[in-house]
Assembly symmetry: C2
Homo-oligomer: 497 residues x 2
Amino acid sequence: MNSYQKLEKIFARQTGICNASAILQWDNATVMPQGSGESRAEQLTILAELAHETITSPELPDLFNNAQMQKGELDQWQQANLHEMQRIWQHATALPTDLVAELTKAGHESELFWRSARKENDFKGFAPYQKRVLQLVRESAQAKSSALGLSPYDALIDQYDPGTKSDFIDGIFNDLADFLPEFTGQVIERQKSQTPPLQINDNVSKAAQKELGIEFMQKLGFDFSQGRLDESTHPFCGGVVGDVRITTRYDEKDFLSGFFGVMHETGHALYEMHLPKELRMQPVGQARGMAFHESQSLFTEMQLCIRKEFLQYAAPYMRKTLNKNGDEWHEDNIYKLMTQVTPSFIRVDADEVTYPAHIILRYRLERQLIDGTLEVEDLPDAWNEQMRLLLGIVPDNYANGCMQDIHWTDGSFGYFPSYTLGAMIAAQLFNSIEKAIPEINSVIRNGEFRQIYSWLHQNVHCLGSKYSSQDLLLKASGENLNINYYKNHLKTRYLAD
Amino acid sequence: MNSYQKLEKIFARQTGICNASAILQWDNATVMPQGSGESRAEQLTILAELAHETITSPELPDLFNNAQMQKGELDQWQQANLHEMQRIWQHATALPTDLVAELTKAGHESELFWRSARKENDFKGFAPYQKRVLQLVRESAQAKSSALGLSPYDALIDQYDPGTKSDFIDGIFNDLADFLPEFTGQVIERQKSQTPPLQINDNVSKAAQKELGIEFMQKLGFDFSQGRLDESTHPFCGGVVGDVRITTRYDEKDFLSGFFGVMHETGHALYEMHLPKELRMQPVGQARGMAFHESQSLFTEMQLCIRKEFLQYAAPYMRKTLNKNGDEWHEDNIYKLMTQVTPSFIRVDADEVTYPAHIILRYRLERQLIDGTLEVEDLPDAWNEQMRLLLGIVPDNYANGCMQDIHWTDGSFGYFPSYTLGAMIAAQLFNSIEKAIPEINSVIRNGEFRQIYSWLHQNVHCLGSKYSSQDLLLKASGENLNINYYKNHLKTRYLAD
């Protein structure tokens, strides 16, 4: 066995441990008895330690050196795999064990306190927890900065969206921040002048919602012999390659949010289901970071499903299956309902147009928090200022403002930009597919969705982490990330359509 | 941290890994998508390797030596824990890694072939697989024999029921083998002279069966905040301490077998639920072997639930909940149905009286197979001979004979005696409870089952593996295993009642 093969074996073991954790986490969120949390935490902590020990074993530096020297004998996939292994190893070894343990503990305590503090709007009580977490994240960012040769904040981004740098995001997000306020105003004015959509007041049973969700998952290509649909408080796409498990939350009074939620997670799932199977235990066989992952869920939800042609296919099907006949169930009305724009305080409830403003706000503030140019006690004012600037509204309390998200509470800084980068990638990919399938509108109207996903399987999914996200987008679409596709998508949908 | 504490940490880690596996195995049997077997096998193999590596690390011999020298400073629980750790370590280190891997592989292949060969009654095709597995088990038994200072077959028993030896089982089983044929004949004659029970031909929906099962689980003390009831092809009690998951199989045409199956697994579950919580990550906190575990399921199923007083409580409840009024649903008829005795070929379908004969047969044959005094090619004849001797019938094919069980196919020799030892322990424990609760009949008739389980929690469950199974029975019942309790139970139920 040569050094590269030894590395493959080590990383396969790490993947196996992480996969076991992923199933246990799914179990935790869906079927675990409520009193079993302590025993589950014990299992997950031990598996996390084992995964970390596996890839920080002292033999790795030599193996990497030898494998680098034999690089000429490796094929392209293997070279890419070696590159990914080293990136993962660099992240894992950058931090002293004590710091990892301290951050895990502080993050856990802070998140726990936040859950009740948010309800009580208690920023003052929460601030010390957040400060402690931030302090440890700053230390981690410094350590990763030295190990990876990136700026501290870029080193944090690299955990979620490898290779993407804040200088690049700055350009994109500043452009978007210039565009959005005026655009949003125009959209709101336009919608004011139109007849408002009819609200759907019908109850739809959980069972009926589930059945319809499953049918559309299958129409899009979800393979139930390798995956499941379940319920959880917070919807997610979990499980592992070969066993992909999405969840949703049903509200009998809000059919549409459940349905499009399932479609969103199905987009994530189809990515996982078409990663290269034979490389499923290797780093190169995993999805290409969170921005690309979010591009796949938003492609399905925003590019495909909230589209007139899709609703021309889906709405009659919904009316028939659910036995609904009112005008509010007409495709035009559903489209109107799903494209209403209103600035609001809560990110997860935001519409397609105002969502990016929420992200830009968080991106700007977390950069400053990591750089040390913003401190936790000044966060509420900074938050409100950005909110006013980007969305023209100011929250009346902390719970609707800087205390709404879980991300920072446990130290997940660097994740937020992925959401909006994903939305842009989705728009760019949809444009490429439009070029490849000129009759795409009738394809969608006829429910032939698999044609569209074939293109994604071939140009994105089956490539795993073979290329950087920049190169992957370039190969798939023929261009680097170009914000105009996203702007044009918004303009067409909200001002012209 | 002293040596004993270091050992505690190592074994807690091993328990955590095994617990993660237990949940993944439950998932496998209940909710896993059918096409995800390969990815699950990868996870389980890696966790098994990690668990093995954890307790065979080279530092253990020194830690054990030091801990032994400091034994005086350990309390009784810690001393018992140290003893259990050493036993587990001796088993784990007795076999060369290659032999473990070979046996796992051969067992897997053999079991796989057996699944189809049994359907086709193909003993000739299956024999080479079984021979290969037997050969490797003989080698393992030899290796464990040297490491543990036990005879080869006793070393195999020790894996499932620590401390129990075949000389002891010989005595018990020979006594029983002398008793059973004549006794069974008497029971059959007696039952022939009585009016036969009415068959239950009503369908009972899965949903109604599940609801009733859950209600009775709760009446017996099953805590659903720390456990679940699900469906699987083969019923089992799985999960971990603090998260106990039992399964069943519903046949809408056979309500009783489903109901008493759930009660059987509930007996296992109540043991797991009342093991000492604070020691759940240590070997001493685990259940005391398979014979005691089976004693708890058989206590619930055979000693408690198939009892006139229980049915006087349960049958009216069943009739009301299921809305059934026919005479076949009367408690006397259900009791008669559940106590009918007929010698038959298949162990898992056998009644209470003929079941032990199936076990004695397997025990005698597997001893010979391990000793080398019986070879696989001679197994069918030896099987049929013992069947004729013990049950007076001879199977017409291999599927109904020596190919019916899964145990030997994958190398699980030494497990079978636990079933009947468990039945005897159950009878002896019930006798002790009768002494402790003189009004037990009315307690049962009134559905006050928790009084009975309190006794078990206190005298068996909460002691984990603090004592050997022999000492545990002695402490709980005041006597060593005494076969007369079991014989008297059978005589009372089948000849006097």
